[in-house]
């Protein structure tokens, strides 16, 4: 089982997929005129990246989340080819993108987590969304750890100027 479907009363955890999470984007800032800063609110499917132990032990009041995209929609928009999704993205060969398979029972399509679109949101907000049935699924172990490893590697990798040459 790749996904579980926790009840709305279950606590928040790493790997939770939650719909309609409000994410703020700064839209307008003009310090010269003194107009107030304006922000746009986008409602996104997100997944929680913060470690389980930090959430369970209440060491944090906020969670790091990443945006989750419907892979088919990205293909339809011409952003990706279907073969990209089936090939390198699914194989975990693209830094910062993590593939999640579809689950017809849970009504989840194939998805791509963008590990470069990160936000910090209050845990209470995620709890409220969960209580309102916005939590769609929870990525199970060991897939959750696999995602966490890819997330860590994306930011800890060391690039070489060019690949080593061979004979």
């Amino acid at each position: 089982m790749i996904y579980a479907h926790p009840s709305s009363a279950d606590p928040i955890d790493q790997g939770d997929l939650i719909d309609d999470c409000p994410l703020l984007t700064a839209l307008h800032l003009d310090p010269a005129t003194g107009h107030p800063l304006k922000a746009g609110v986008e409602l996104h499917r997100i997944t929680i990246l913060t470690q389980t132990c930090d959430i369970a032990n209440e060491k944090v009041t906020t969670a790091n989340v990443a945006q989750v995209f419907d892979a088919q929609k990205l293909v339809e928009q011409g952003m990706l080819k279907a073969s990209d999704v089936r090939g390198p993205v699914r194989a975990g060969r693209v830094w910062g993108w993590y593939y999640l398979p579809a689950d017809t029972t849970l009504g989840l399509p194939e998805m791509i987590i963008d590990l470069r679109r990160l936000h910090t949101v209050p845990l209470d907000l995620l709890r409220t969304l969960s209580k309102n049935d916005k939590r769609r699924a929870r990525l199970q172990v060991p897939y959750r750890e696999h995602l966490a490893k890819h997330f860590a590697d994306t930011f800890s990798r060391i690039g070489l100027p060019q690949p080593y040459e061979t004979m």
Binding site: V41, E42, L43, V60, M79, P88, W95
Partner: protein, 103 residues
Amino acid sequence: MECAQWKWYNLWKEEKSQMNGLLCEALAELNLEPGQTQRVRVNGYDVEIRRLKEESMDFANSVMLEPWVTFPEGAISAVVPIHVAEPTLPDPPELPDDGLETT
């Protein structure tokens, strides 16, 4: 001075080398394709000769890639004026109680 055993060994080695050369020449004439086999009966037992498939090191398909597009922004559902508030403090870190803190 070479002993008889050493002479015999060198002779055997030379013969073996010649034999290998002949065998290689004969096998080369078979022009086997990768994975193709030939069977031959020698001294009452079957010998199978098979050309191994070349293992391709597909380097290009094993390296990690950088993302080549930026996923689209979502539709803004609302625009809200923001009032600058006091910066929130970080969650307090858990400090180890190992007595190593400076006084």
